[in-house]
Symmetry: C2
Subunit: 354 residues, 2 copies
């Protein structure tokens, strides 16, 4: 498989001889198989110069035929220890993904006394950061469904909803269209002043801004959009703050180019908000990568010197938060292409409560 060969190339460049890819999105990315997240030991040993070896509960063997050169299965009566030890027989240093659970980390350490474990220096992540055309198509489709859902929210009579019931309605709409949603954030009025407030039993106030942050996966690839839905009349200070947030978004978009450090994108957005006197209210980073995970590299925050590269897909989402008063955020997902940045989301900036 092409991705497996490219992984071996990257392992060579980064001095990684043996990599353990447990049941995870990395496993999904490399094998095409979405593993069910369970407590049973499952993983793929990828060796730069050797055969791939799969450890799996026997119950999954039928589903995983063909993804590795050798299969070491185990049952509850044998336990996973023997299979794991067999796979690690010729391994002295094993790199593991950041997503590995500590329980599995200690199980690997116990399976082979003297084994040295180390953190994967981004071998799998560096492949996943660069989206190919198939992945980009899935991300475009996911973004288009999120846009449609934003427009649909603007048609609702929100006075029939609490934050919680609207969260359910957004998810049900995605499921009706096909993709699996993540749990939306829905915040009415001052609740939006907490950037990750999920939503509670507050009735949605038709005369206050309504912040919705939501998305869903198409073929495993996520969308992530935030829109604020405004009442017909808004306080001048809220209007001005929203104009500032949108200007910060535009400033970030304007500096996007391959080779630009991620931190500079954050700085461009932050400067606009700081210059408007609201710097203290922009309390999070400007964006994060989006792909098989809703949050993944690259991270667009101050101090990140890593450059943007062609194939990166990430959010830009400046926001301002005034505790107890109001909160605003504007978020689209962006593709960094050869010919500049492409906004995958197209929903209007100004949406009104229906």
């Amino acid at each position: 498989m092409d991705r497996m060969n490219r992984l071996r190339d990257v392992m060579g460049e980064r001095g990684v001889e043996h990599l353990w890819v447990e049941a995870s999105v990395g496993f999904h990315y490399l094998t095409g198989h979405k593993p069910i997240s369970v407590e049973r030991t499952m993983g793929l040993l990828v060796s730069r110069a050797g055969r791939t070896k799969l450890v799996t509960p026997a119950m999954h063997a039928e589903e995983l035929v063909g993804i590795a050169d050798e299969v070491f299965d185990w049952t509850d009566s044998t336990g996973p220890e023997t299979a794991t030890a067999a796979v690690l027989e010729d391994v002295d240093v094993l790199h593991v993904q950041g997503s590995l659970l500590a329980s599995a980390w200690y199980a690997l350490a116990d399976a082979k006394p003297g084994l040295r474990l180390a953190l994967d220096p981004g071998c799998v992540a560096s492949l996943r950061e660069h989206k190919d055309s198939h992945e980009l198509e899935a991300l475009r489709s996911a973004a288009a469904l999120a846009d449609e859902t934003a427009l649909w929210i603007a048609t609702l009579d929100v006075t029939t909803h609490t934050e919680r019931s609207l969260r359910g309605a957004i998810q049900a709409r995605f499921l009706g269209l096909g993709p699996m949603p993540w749990e939306p954030l829905v915040a009415t009025g001052a609740n939006a002043s907490m950037p990750h407030y999920e939503g509670g039993d507050s009735p949605i106030a038709p005369d206050r801004p309504l912040l919705c942050d939501f998305g869903a996966a198409t073929d495993g690839y996520w969308s992530d959009i935030t829109r604020v839905f405004f009442p017909q009349s808004t306080a001048p200070e809220v209007e001005r703050a929203y104009e500032t947030v949108c200007a910060a978004y535009d400033a970030a978009l304007a500096v996007l180019a391959p080779g630009v450090p991620c931190g500079e994108v954050d700085a461009a957005a932050r400067k606009v908000i700081t210059d408007a006197g609201m710097g203290d209210a922009f309390i999070h980073r400007t964006g994060h990568g989006v792909g098989l995970e809703i949050h993944e590299p690259p991270y667009l925050h101050g101090g990140n010197e890593s450059p943007l590269e062609v194939g990166h897909v990430f959010s830009i989402e400046p926001g301002v938060y005034f505790p107890g008063r109001f909160g605003l955020r504007f978020e689209n997902v962006i593709y960094m292409g050869d010919n500049g940045a492409e906004e995958l989301n197209r929903a209007p900036r100004m949406l009104r409560l229906g």
Copy 2:
């Protein structure tokens, strides 16, 4: 908080001085706060004899007021390293939960050179295993909604559905009722011979058994039920196999009592299926704990000598799988009470396709 005090007692019994509880269901259990799963360092240091210390991104500080004696917050411009090092100042040995990500494990190790990290010997898990009356009520409610959904599936015209569309319909139904569902498994005909087959684009065959495994969370506590929906007429070998699976379930239920080793429950179910000549087709364990996680301790599998205890909540779900032919499973969630076992699920054993 009562749970925090009980945790300190257990830490004393098990010789744990300092425990790190990262943003996780354990954190939710101890603090009542459901942390959003993000890439930012967040966690609670619980010391047997000292003050609790929270490391959190500053953006979450408003939401987390009051859960720890001291708060060490950080921003993207400071990074989490200083806050983490300050919290670990007096710590020599730090126990971590099995759910901690390796990326966070290495971040803790890097924050304090010489720090010894070890796996939590089940301090948090041992509390979480014993459900209190409030938790039991949530689990009962979750189970009742799963039962209703099973009856609802039996009313559907499945010929209008593929496996995938039925998965979405089941989720949408839960969302309409309130709780957040996990992704159901839906398998028509021979697809059910893979025990964790999720469901694909196969149209649902009205003349073949349909296996559905699903559930949803009420106040964070999950349900988990499997029912097979049968056509009006079923092959005799399938009928006989289903009778065997149900008899295995009954045999497991009959041995449940506080003090009985988990492995004996598995053995009781397995004996029935083995005696019927289908032992090789029962390729998974008999059950797993259910609570804030869909799979959690106790695990009911061969070789597990840990005893059942009052307060345990777990599935019993024997099944048989004949590759390419058919698969059957019957699953309820059970509460181990003072006065014996209580089946939280009440949906009928024999459900027919509508």
